[in-house]
Amino acid sequence: MALQPPAQRVWWNERVEKGELIWIGIAFLWGLVMFFMMVYWHINGRQNLSTAAFRIEPSTFEKRTEAFAKQFKAREEGTTGVPVAKPPANADVYMLARLWEWWPVLELEKGRTYRLHLSSMDWQHGWSLQPVNINIQVHPGVEHVLMITPTETGTFSVICNEFCGIGHHTMTGRIHVVEQGAGAAEPAAAPPSQTKR
């Protein structure tokens, strides 16, 4: 019985039955498959989280994000007063998290790759892009830089999925994805040539 000392004193020399051995073998191999699947995806997969991260003062990140939003401001998002930044393809794109908003709103072009910088001004937040369902943790004092390529057009929401106090469930932001070249036709959008500095 499992409640009593082993019936055979020298239990470690017992021969293990074949069925049990086969299962251990299968389970071990399956573990290797799962392990190397992650490695394989780093080599051949297209969804890997960037490991580029830097220490940064929240105030510094805020200044950079504000400069970015000013430089590429195309319009404001509805009546919210939040700027919509439309950066050129392959640009550095900033989005900051603070109690309780993601700022600014971004307008990106489908099929283009952007270098997205994320950081928090205060507490930890969860950058959760919906309904795509990409979820990334955002820390204060750490700037996370990742390459991202939208593959569908439409309006996407960024919600917060790390608890950040009483206003947590009101913390949202947006990313618009438009066809390539479509944004320039909109009246409010600033043409790339007008960008300063």
């Binding site: 239990w11 573990g31 992650m38």
Partner: protein, 580 residues
């Protein structure tokens, strides 16, 4: 003349400290018995409180009901996590440790006074943290990630509780040493005690990690430390937070073996294999902190891949082994008991009307199919991108910690009542249904939260309708349906949980006392044993003497489901926006 009286008094004094178990003939240290009772009672109290909080959470998530206001929701969610994940489980584990050492090894408990100090510290710590949370200003969730700060007593309560648990672990280890010294058993410790030892070793690692992070955090909340690094906090905190769940795994796997042994006479197929599986837990489970760091900035991919897989899934290997050897031991025992017809007669004729067996088997199945598979998928580095901090996470751990651990703890309670509390289960007719009701409820909670999580619904979120948000967002209608079903499941589970609390409390207070005449009946229905003597029972466990077609089929079905679900998730991942 005088010396003999002294000696007789001495012997009588010792005898008064023990009773003889009518079922097993083991000497039971009354000090250990009192401690097991106290810890089990405290556990059930916190289960009742925490369970009620959990119901509040689920009924608020159900958008049509939306029971609590936002402040209360976050407060209650914090308290729910603390009470059930920490207090209920660790108090019960203390009872399991004392049972697996003192009772199973037929030995006096080491330092019972210290064990009472441990109990006292745990009670004070648990109550202090609860009061602090209920005062408000400490709704920081179970995880209390900085820079969000709780009141100092929140951390202090946790520290006191952890110190108490650490002392309890040392009493357990001390008892093992005494048992060895005094030769109260022959050969090696029983497998169940070995599993408890595994739990204890992991617990000590866990508590040390907790101390390393909670003490500075407490000092920070008092103003003595200016800053806590947020990434470092998560890394060390989860060395406590996740590893403590591995204490549960080791404890409830031990309980599976114990219940199968008591009710069916099951013995391990191979002592070597089962013990090696436990040993794999000790070696590899602790690095699971990485499961919570997969979408965190500042950590290398190599670190994530190695740690999240427990070094190439070697701890998962341990669980996969138990996943075969536990049903295998049951099948072998049942075949010995005479249920040899067909592939599944052993399972059909198992004592399904015994709540200890039903709870144990449901726990085994749900822990494996729901908790185990979802846990591995969730802990896959890249797949975590789709699931991190969604409701999938609580969906997963309700399958492991509630369906797995809590249900198995409930199951063994039905045996502890007659064996330790010396009381019959007061309403066996009601008790029979309890594990099914609770089990089905928890299964629903897990599945529907996982479903909502797959749709991207955030965890720890008061309003999935975003009614007060400047920029609104709508989840698909299916998400609302999932959360409604989750609420209904939570009601079922709460009824099952309340039944458990009422049955155990009433049995302890008013249950019929158990003695030699009714002890076996008090353990509930169990199959006729064909073999009673030791010699006959040793027929298997040796190579080549048993065939377990039923177990092989169950394991094959499990493995098929695992592989399929694993690759389906990779398929989903490949459709996400490319990132690098």
């Amino acid at each position: 003349m005088a010396t003999t009286t002294v000696q007789e008094d001495f012997i009588a004094g010792i005898a008064s400290k023990f009773r003889t178990c009518p079922a097993t003939g083991l000497r039971i240290d009354l000090a250990a018995q009192r401690l097991i009772k106290a810890n089990a009672v405290a556990a059930v109290v916190f289960l009742a409180v925490g369970g009620l909080f959990g119901l509040g959470v689920a009924l608020t998530r159900w958008q049509a009901v939306h029971l609590l206001k936002a402040e209360w929701f976050y407060l209650v969610l914090t308290a729910h996590g603390l009470d059930v994940l920490l207090l209920w489980i660790i108090f019960f584990e203390m009872a399991v440790l004392y049972f697996a050492s003192s009772i199973l090894l037929n030995c006096r408990l080491a330092a019972p006074r210290m064990a009472w100090v441990a109990f006292g510290l745990m009670v004070v710590g648990g109550v202090l943290t609860n009061i602090t949370v209920l005062q408000g200003d400490s709704s920081v969730m179970f995880t209390s990630y900085p820079p969000m700060m709780a009141r100092p007593n929140f951390y202090l309560g946790l520290i006191l509780f952890a110190v108490g648990a650490l002392i309890g672990c040392l009493v357990f280890l001390g008892t093992l040493v005494i048992a060895k010294e005094e030769k109260t058993y022959e050969g090696s410790i029983p497998l169940v005690t070995f599993g408890a030892l595994t739990a204890c070793i992991i617990a000590i690692f866990t508590i040390a990690s907790g101390a390393i992070i909670l003490i500075p955090t407490w000092l920070w909340s008092l103003g003595y430390i200016s800053n806590i690094n947020t990434v470092m906090y998560k890394l060390v905190w989860w060395a406590m937070g996740h590893s403590s769940q591995q204490i549960n795994v080791a404890a409830h796997v031990s309980i599976w073996y114990a219940i199968a042994a008591i009710l069916l006479g099951a013995k391990p197929l191979s002592e070597k294999v089962s013990r090696t599986a436990f040993f794999l837990y000790i070696l590899f489970l602790q690095i699971a902190s990485a499961h919570h760091m997969l979408v965190e900035p500042g950590l290398s991919a190599e670190w994530k891949v190695f740690n999240t897989s427990y070094a190439m899934y070697l701890a998962v290997l341990g669980s996969l082994i138990h996943g075969m050897t536990v049903p295998g031991a049951i099948e072998a025992a049942q075949r010995q008991n005479g249920y040899t017809r067909g592939v599944f007669e052993w399972l059909r004729k198992a004592p399904w009307g015994n709540p200890a067996f039903a709870g144990m088997f449901l726990s085994l199945v749900m822990f494996g199919f729901l908790g185990g598979i979802s846990g591995v998928v969730l802990g896959t580095e890249q797949i975590n991108l789709m699931l991190h901090n969604t409701l999938y996470v609580p969906g997963h751990f309700h399958a492991t910690v509630v369906a797995g651990t809590t249900l198995s703890f409930m199951a063994i309670t039905y045996l502890l009542l007659p064996l330790i509390f010396q009381r019959e289960v007061i309403w066996p007719g009601l008790a029979k249904w309890q594990p099914y009701l609770f089990g089905i409820g928890v299964m629903g909670i897990s599945l529907f939260m996982m479903g909502a999580g797959t749709l991207g619904v955030s965890r720890r979120h008061w309003d999935i309708g975003f009614t007060d948000a400047a920029m609104g967002f709508k989840y698909p209608a299916t998400a609302y349906l999932m959360l409604g079903l989750n609420g209904i499941s939570a009601i079922l589970a709460s009824i099952g949980g309340a039944m458990f609390v009422v049955i155990t409390v009433a049995s302890v207070l008013w249950g019929k006392p158990v003695d030699k005449s009714n002890i076996v009946a008090a353990l509930g229905p169990m199959p006729q044993r064909q073999m009673t003597s030791e010699t006959a029972a040793s027929g298997y466990g040796n190579a080549g003497t048993w065939h377990l077609p039923g177990t092989y089929i169950l394991v094959t079905v499990f493995f098929g489901a695992f592989v399929l679900y694993y690759f389906v998730n990779w398929k989903y991942l490949s459709q996400l926006w490319p990132m690098g």
